[in-house]
């Protein structure tokens, strides 16, 4: 089968997996930066449950920074 040869080696699979992790961490950083242009104020690694409730009632979109705070 052409195209799947890279999956035959465990080392290759591991390399592809770790590269994928790095790629998606970079994507997360990218979106984290972009969201700061829209009044997004969250830590990179966590958003506390208290913050969800405390700042915006029941609207998770507002607390996630997807809609601006008044």
């Amino acid at each position: 089968l052409t195209g799947l040869e890279s999956l035959r080696s465990f080392r290759n699979v591991l390399m592809i997996f770790f590269t994928s992790v790095i790629i998606w961490l970079l994507e997360t950083v990218k979106y984290w930066f972009v969201m700061h242009a829209f009044n997004f104020q969250r830590q990179f690694f966590r958003a506390d449950a208290d913050e969800w409730r405390g700042q915006s009632g029941d609207d998770p979109a507002v607390s996630a920074g997807l809609r601006g705070h008044v």
């Binding site: 799947l4 950083v29 958003a47 449950a49």
Partner: protein
């Protein structure tokens, strides 16, 4: 940050294409960028097909082989996304209905792991799957002509 991520994607694709043909990352990078442009412009992630086509034109790598690597890329992307969800959920609890999120994560995990196992099996036992594909196409009887059977086998499996 965007272009660093695209460069990392290019390196990963180069790594997957190496058994077929070693293409320097410098030459592969524009192909990946063209593909992602296609994903943004055309519907249904048609950019993935576009980059396979561009790779075929520029580097003479068969489209079926490069599309197979693209599908494996998507499976790995899905797995990494699920790992992120597993890591993030305890840190960032979602208010309200957690059960539906849990169900989606469980379903997606099972689906992606099954897909990965299938690809490992396909990579490890190509001849058996070729025989299985021939047997499956044989079941179609007269519904398919010999030519179309050969075309399907040619697209999916190249011995």
């Amino acid at each position: 940050v965007y272009f660093v991520a695209v460069w990392a994607r290019t390196w990963r694709w180069d790594y997957m294409l190496r058994p077929i043909k070693h293409i320097p990352v410098r030459r592969l990078f524009p192909v990946v960028v063209i593909g992602y442009m296609g994903n943004n412009v055309y519907p249904f992630r048609a950019g993935e097909v576009l980059r396979s086509f561009v790779l075929y034109k520029r580097e003479d790598v068969s489209m079926s082989a490069s599309l197979a690597t693209v599908i494996v890329e998507r499976v790995f992307d899905g797995l990494v996304m699920l790992i992120f969800v597993f890591v993030a959920l305890p840190l960032s609890p979602i208010p309200g209905d957690n059960q539906s999120v849990r169900n989606i994560v469980i379903f997606a995990s099972v689906a992606f792991f099954l897909a990965l196992i299938l690809f490992f099996a396909l990579a490890a036992m190509p001849k058996r799957f070729h025989a299985l594909a021939e047997w499956g196409l044989g079941l179609t009887g007269k519904l398919l002509t010999e030519k179309s059977r050969a075309q399907i086998l040619g697209i999916s499996i190249i011995s």
